[in-house]
């Protein structure tokens, strides 16, 4: 009952604890219970805090904190899932990976994927956001349509695209042949030079909606007065785009870049469904290689070492981007 009186935020907020009727105050205690400094009071409060924390922290400490430490321990062992003894091998795993050409290739592939898909996705998302930020009809409908791939399970997207790319009856080949853009059907996913671009195209298609929504939110956050001031000063729409809109969206761009790069470095599902890393390792990415090392060859120690390399690369990228963030004072 009493709690309900405190509910409406607008009523209580301005005056704070002072508005609590004096009669309701427990006699002898201070007006604000959070400021009680007695040891017993503090311990009582702390005890409750730990109760609130414990369920989450138990899960967190086992599956995140302990898992990390255990993972680090694994990197110094030859930990084969099947064999009984798991000998300590020092830095052997780390030395092995430097000479593992398949792994180095997978790093190159992952960078290729990231370097192409992230900027293209962001650029298209930005253009769509600009167009949809105009006063046009069916804005909501277009936004929903472009966002649709984002709400589709990624495995389904991969299945659809695997079909579209099919060499014998895929829609791509059909329309490209029909419009005479190509003469021979292309083997998208089994051609050494086409496979990675095909995976990138599919990933761009599925990721554009996210960039668009984030950019739309960013565009709506730009103060109207800025655009107006530029307009009054005689800036044309291109000038306004370059000198007002794009600089104002820098935080949004940086956010998309960080999220995009972190996500792309972990690319896996489309590889697993569409190419299995082939042809001849051309689409084998880091996470795909880690997956194979761990669950095809059961080399848990070595695979975890590779995962730590992925983590290190992620950290380096994030660190660079955050430094840019600070430097630009956003």
């Amino acid at each position: 009952m009493a709690v309900d009186t405190a509910r409406p935020a607008s009523r209580t907020r301005p005056s704070g604890p002072r508005r609590v009727p004096a009669a309701r105050r427990p006699s002898g205690s201070r007006p604000s219970p959070t400021r009680s400094t007695s040891l017993a009071g503090r311990m009582g409060r702390a005890w409750r805090a730990y109760l609130f924390l414990s369920p989450g922290l138990i899960v967190f400490s086992l599956f995140t904190v302990f898992a990390l430490l255990f993972g680090f321990y694994l990197t110094f062992h030859e930990w084969n899932l099947i064999s009984q003894d798991k000998p300590f091998v020092g830095l052997q795993n780390y030395m092995d990976l430097a000479e593992d050409e398949s792994f180095l290739k997978s790093i190159v592939n992952t960078f290729y994927f990231t370097g192409a898909s992230v900027p293209i996705t962001m650029a298209i998302g930005f253009c769509l956001a600009l167009l949809l930020n105009q006063a046009i009809k069916f804005k909501g409908l277009f936004r929903t349509l472009f966002f649709l791939p984002q709400v589709t399970p990624f495995v389904v997207v991969a299945i659809i695209w695997k079909w579209l790319y099919n060499g014998d009856y895929g829609l791509f080949n059909f329309y490209l042949l029909k419009t005479q853009l190509i003469r021979e059907p292309l083997l998208w996913l089994s051609d050494q030079n086409l496979a990675m671009p095909a995976v990138i195209l599919m990933s761009v298609w599925s990721g554009v909606g996210f960039s668009m929504v984030i950019y739309l939110a960013g565009l709506q956050g730009i103060p109207h007065e800025l655009q107006e001031a530029a307009k009054v000063d005689g800036a044309g729409s291109w000038q306004r785009l370059w000198n007002v809109t794009i600089p104002q969206l820098a935080p949004t761009t940086l956010f998309l870049l960080v999220m995009g790069i972190i996500g792309s470095l972990q690319v896996f599902t489309q590889i697993f469904v569409m190419t299995k890393g082939g042809p001849v390792e051309r689409t084998s990415t880091m996470v795909y290689y880690i997956y194979e090392a761990a669950f095809k060859f059961y080399e848990m120690g070595y695979a975890t070492t590779l995962a730590f390399v992925l983590f290190a690369i992620t950290l380096v990228f994030t660190w660079i981007q955050l430094r840019l963030y600070r430097k630009a004072d956003l």
Binding site: T34, F70, T152, A307, L315
Partner: protein, 313 residues
Amino acid sequence: MSATVEVLQPQELDRRSELRPEGAGDRKRRWIRYALIYLILIPGAILFVGPFAWLVSASFQRTGDIFSWPPQWIPQDPTVEGYAEFAQTGALRWFANSAFVATSVTVLQLLLNSMCAFAFAKLKFPGREPLFLLVLATMMVPPQITMIPNYLILQRIPLFGGNDLFGNGGHGMLDSYAGLILPGAVSAFGIFLLRQFMMTIPDELLDAARVDGASEFRVYRQIMLPLCRPVLAATAIFTFMAAWEDFLWPLIILSDPGKFTAPLGLAMFVMKNQTEWGMLLAGSVIATLPMVIVFMIFQRQFVQGVAMSGIKG
């Protein structure tokens, strides 16, 4: 001139300054501009909807027709054969599994994240800062790092899946729903997001209830949670969709097809039955529908949530 400009409202000014140079010519230019915008948007939209339209259409075709050349956009001989066959394989269970796992993960995360966030935001206790820093620090850790250790940890959970007290003998939580759900039951990012929101709620509001004799749990449940509803709704949608489409983790720990989630089941289906496209496409439609429905219902919260995580994350 500047004096008149300042008096005008922004929207009014917008219209005025666009119309000012010349009347009819400017209107024409605007027409051309809109035509150009639609000229980009409409083909773009077709490229985005086309694959879905084809998916739905093909799922109602006989397997032979799916391969027809030229492709049929409108099924000439519509059939629900694919759906019926798909249902007969017992694959519908995958969707029940997915629904169960995604719901459990979402409910657990809402509960555990908000409880942790409440403690971090509004309660004082020794060790608060270092603990929160630890949570923050792990936000950056990619799930691929913990996935292998967690696989080994699940395998050794005591008294589970045939394991003895010391975690030996059985397969532990591998190949179980618990193994799918528990590692995802709490999220550092979720705690962080909720904690940031809770910090903005004035202490006085909670103190008023405390003075009235409400227990800390009641403060959390009857004041904090209702106030956090918008953030909780946004995170719930995201968590649910992420859990629904999680692929790598189920792929690693599950081997019993009866426990497969929808994405895993479909991916395995692609690998095993390369020829059964009718069933596969029907299954893909079924897997997509719940997501699209959730999105349509919660579109506003969803877009807000995207924007929120975009700005605050």
